[in-house]
């Protein structure tokens, strides 16, 4: 990987899907596949794409053609395709709403249609990396505007008047001189026959004319269905004749079944078939773990059949994975010099000459997504053509993987995307869809639904990586920080895609470490080695969680050591408003979330501004608090968005912790749907409080020690974060929109523990909190 230029690319996608991309045509017909499109647009003098993003570098790139995304029925119903997956972030609403707004469609007459996996047709569909708005707000606006212009043109043709005399307005076109009006339904046929306007002829609306964009007044599209039980998730799919499968998977990754009692399982009434799925050697990408599958007439019979299997396992090379031992090994690694990743000045010299050295170590264990809907997928194969229904964040990749697995051409595979009952990164990995394909094949193409139970989900995940963070700061006699050394040790998720690099890749460093924004003359970031002994996945905000926890805890530790206020010292360490450009000082090209640095630089002015805003909103230093309560603050840039959080904790005499109030300021550039931004920040606080208090996946003898919500606890109502106040920094449309789904998570834990320190004097350096206050 070293030496390759990853600017403008999404590393995972390109490493894992490089082969698939070979031979993909980039343009044809009406579909403008736009690997090169933003550049072309600007060369054309078009205003449709005002700034560059990395969207074109993703598999499938960008498509904005209204012939692909929009159709108008003769009754006036406007159907808008959503090519992204809905997992709770608002994808079904926010982008279609932008199309509707630009095309002057009335939202109450809009139907949102979920696209199947087809990236040649729709552009990139990977719903992760907090990318949907970031990469598609411009193309979807252009799409809506183009549709509007086509409807206007259709009206002009029908009336035989010049284009300049007509204007689209709320689902109809008006002939301005005469006041004549014609509804979209009546224009549908003519408009559909028109060519897509050239990009440089597309005129976007002036933001002052927006009906929906930026307002946050549109209800989420699936709201009614969800509240009446009609919303369909992958667990709910059951085509005619579906049978149900559960799989006994190896408890240790790369293990294999030695023996099993198929006859006993077949004796369970309703069981139809038992068969083995072999494991795939690493790097296995998202191939199934293997195991023994039991297919039955209903889920209950399949579960009973699996219980009767009595599988004996050959555990394989990961049987020695033990979380306690591994933690010690990582700790030792972090105490030795590592591989330089970013270097400015001379840290060793500065530390040697420092008046005071503060040295701290932080530990963050494995975590798991535990999406409320456990993974599930259904597949049937008709005439050699697989049809899959799955709750995947990656329908395009799923299509390619299923095709490869079954040895059929990709265009023979249909992947229907259901609603996702939570995603958080887990459902970017389509192992469960591949399992369904194997089961259906085994059943002669009959539809089979593979269901993961909660235990399956918790024990066979793609885990948030375990990590050890070692930060050393040197202070001069005036308590100025003159040296900052941060060593990060963590198994890499790249181990799914390539021989295990045993250290964080450029992508993982890009997740909140390489862009360390501190104004310190001697700064050195290093990685240490740690092998992957299980499947490492990405979990909402990924390595930003450990990186932010360590950095922002350390800031508060230095503040405490030197008697300064957390917020003041944080601002001081960040230093003046400027662009931090680490590109000349890194060992490998900077990964800026796959987007151009020119569009999304590291801007400490914006980081400072969210800190100042949140401090003001939370009345930092001024709020009167009950006994045992205190505030803590932290800030972090992730997914090109700046977030600062103030957490209030309350601790009673028994060490019980509550979180009565959370204030979060977010700068995500232009905010397309403030209502869903708020709900993401509320959800991020709850999830991050779970991470802070409970999240801990541990391994012994290679096996996950947790099973269900009894020993893998998640936050329940009333436990805290019930009053989350979101403060959105105002920006016009010209400020590039950045990520929202993930950035709320990273600063929460350090803010929480900084508050806990202020309330109790106790510094917690290992996640989760558990009963450390009682200890």
């Amino acid at each position: 990987m070293k030496g390759e230029n990853f600017e403008n690319q999404a590393i995972i996608e390109n490493v894992s899907r490089r082969n698939m991309l070979k031979g993909v045509a980039t343009a044809g017909g009406l579909v403008v596949a736009a690997q090169f499109l933003p550049g072309v647009a600007m060369a054309d003098g078009s205003q449709a794409f005002q700034y560059k993003t990395g969207a074109g570098g993703m598999p499938g790139g960008v498509v904005w053609d209204p012939h692909v995304f929009v159709s108008v029925a003769t009754d006036g119903t406007v159907s808008i395709v959503t090519h992204r997956s809905e997992m709770g972030t608002g994808s079904h609403t926010s982008l279609p709403m932008a199309v509707a707004d630009e095309m002057e469609a009335d939202w109450s007459r809009v139907k949102v249609v979920q696209a199947p996996g087809d990236e040649q047709k729709y552009g990139n569909q990977d719903t992760d990396g907090s990318r949907s708005i970031r990469h598609f707000i411009q193309p979807m606006r252009a799409c809506g505007a183009a549709a509007r212009q086509m409807l206007e043109m259709a009206a002009a043709l029908q009336w035989s008047v010049p284009n300049t005399e007509v204007r689209a307005e709320n689902h109809q076109v008006v002939h301005v001189p005469s006041g004549r009006k014609i509804g979209y339904g009546e224009l549908a046929k003519t408009a559909a026959g028109l060519p897509t306007p050239r990009l440089n002829t597309i005129t976007l609306k002036d933001p002052s004319e927006f009906r929906y964009i930026g307002k946050g007044e549109v209800k989420i599209y699936d709201l009614h269905d969800i509240t009446v039980g009609k919303a369909m998730y992958a667990q709910d799919i059951r085509p005619e004749g579906t049978s149900y499968a559960v799989i006994a998977r190896p408890p240790v990754v790369l293990g294999r079944a030695k023996s099993w009692d198929a006859a006993a399982a077949m004796k369970v009434p309703g069981v139809l078939k038992v068969f083995e799925i072999p494991p795939t050697p690493m790097p296995a990408k998202f191939a199934p773990l293997g195991g023994v599958a039991v297919i039955a007439k209903n889920t209950y019979a399949a579960i009973k059949g699996r219980e009767a299997l009595n599988v004996k396992w050959d555990d394989g090379p990961n049987a020695d994975y033990d979380s306690d031992t591994f933690k010690q090994q990582m700790a030792e690694t972090s105490r030795k010099p590592g591989k330089m990743e970013r270097n400015e000045g001379d840290v060793d010299k500065a530390l040697a000459g420092a008046a005071k050295v503060i040295d701290r170590e932080y530990y963050i264990p494995h975590g798991h997504h535990a999406t409320m809907e456990p993974p599930a997928a259904t597949c049937r194969i008709v005439d050699g053509k697989p049809e899959v229904w799955a709750c995947v964040q990656s329908p395009g990749g799923t299509r390619g993987d299923v095709a490869k697995l079954l040895g059929v051409p990709e265009d023979h595979v249909t992947v229907h995307v259901t609603l996702l009952g939570g995603g958080f990164g887990r459902k970017s990995k389509c192992d469960f869809a591949q399992e369904a394909a194997l089961c259906s094949k085994e059943m002669g193409g009959q539809p089979v639904k593979v269901i993961w139970t909660r235990e399956d989900d918790i024990q066979h995940g793609f885990y948030h990586s375990v990590s050890y963070q070692h930060v050393t700061a040197g202070l001069d006699e005036n308590n100025n920080v003159v040296a900052w050394r941060h060593r990060s040790v963590s198994p890499s998720l790249m181990s799914n895609f390539m021989p295990d690099p045993k250290r964080e890749s450029a992508l993982e460093l890009g997740l909140g470490l390489i862009d360390t924004p501190f104004d310190v003359p001697n700064l050195r970031l290093e990685t240490g080695t740690a092998p992957a002994k299980t499947r490492i996945g990405w979990f909402r905000s990924v390595n930003n969680i450990p990186h932010a926890f360590a950095m922002q805890s350390m800031v508060a530790e230095i503040a405490a050591e030197t008697g300064r206020d957390q917020k003041d010292f944080l601002l001081e360490l960040i230093g003046p408003a400027r662009i931090v450009d680490p590109r000349k000082d890194t060992s490998q090209p900077l990964w800026n979330y796959g987007d151009p640095f020119s569009t999304y630089p590291i801007d400490t002015g914006r980081l400072r501004a969210v800190i100042e805003r949140v401090a003001q909103e939370a009345q930092w230093g001024k709020r009167s608090l009950p006994k045992g309560h205190a505030l803590g603050i932290a800030a972090h840039r992730s997914f090109l968005t700046y977030v600062a959080t103030v957490v209030e904790v309350g601790v009673d005499e028994n060490g019980n912790v509550t979180v009565p109030r959370v204030d979060t300021a977010i700068d995500c550039g232009f905010c397309v749907n403030p209502e869903r931004v708020r709900s993401q920040i509320e959800g991020a606080a709850v999830m991050a409080l779970t991470i802070s208090k409970y999240t801990n996946i541990t391994f012994k003898n290679g096996r996950v020690q947790q099973h269900n919500f009894n020993d893998y606890r998640v936050l329940r109502i009333g436990e805290g974060a019930m009053d989350v106040r979101t403060h959105i920094m105002p920006h016009g449309i010209e400020t590039p929109s950045s990520g929202v789904g993930e950035p709320g998570v990273p600063p929460f834990s350090p803010a929480f523990f900084n508050a806990l320190y202020n309330a109790t004097g106790k510094r917690i350096r290992e996640l989760p909190l558990g009963d450390q206050l009682q200890a």
């Binding site: 709201l223 509240t227 667990q235 059951r238 409320m372 009952g421 109502i717």
Partner: protein, 149 residues
């Protein structure tokens, strides 16, 4: 055995130990009742049996013989139960997967306790997990609905 589901009488002759949840989902196709944990810890599978909330994943078919089961699909003929309305008013859901269970829990609970305190709401809803973290809005919606039922 016979069981009434959303006012329709059904006959069942399968394994009496089968959890009601799988019967509703796999046999009747009433997939509004969700599978979340299977052991009574998350509330996604909540339904009403004779008006009281139960976790259908830990309720055997034999337990509902000759009883009346109501699922989210049958909670209100027009989908406008005060709890459902409050849920829409506050745009409670994110992914939505837990929400049918949350709504059934809230509706059953408000039936028993129409004027709950804040603490009552917390403890009544504490068995229902929302991994997306919609708790603040769930609380607000339950409180609002309680002023209406």
């Amino acid at each position: 055995m016979r069981v009434t589901v959303n006012n329709q009488v059904q006959s069942y002759d399968g394994d009496p130990q089968m959890p009601l949840m799988w019967y509703l989902r796999d046999e009747l196709g009433l997939t509004g009742t969700k599978f979340g944990c299977g052991i009574g810890l998350c509330g996604a599978c909540s339904v009403h049996v004779d008006g009281k909330v139960v976790r259908s994943c830990v309720t055997a078919m034999s337990d509902v013989s000759d009883h009346k089961v109501t699922t989210i699909e049958g909670l209100s003929p027009d989908g406008n139960h005060p709890v459902q309305k409050a849920w829409r008013q506050y745009s409670v859901p994110q992914c939505g997967y837990c929400q049918a269970g949350q709504i059934m829990q809230a509706a059953g609970f408000l039936n028993q306790n129409p004027k709950p305190s804040d603490e009552d709401i917390h403890s009544a809803m504490a068995g229902n997990i929302c991994r997306c973290g919609c708790y603040e809005r769930i609380f607000t919606a339950v409180k609002t609905a309680s002023q209406e039922v």
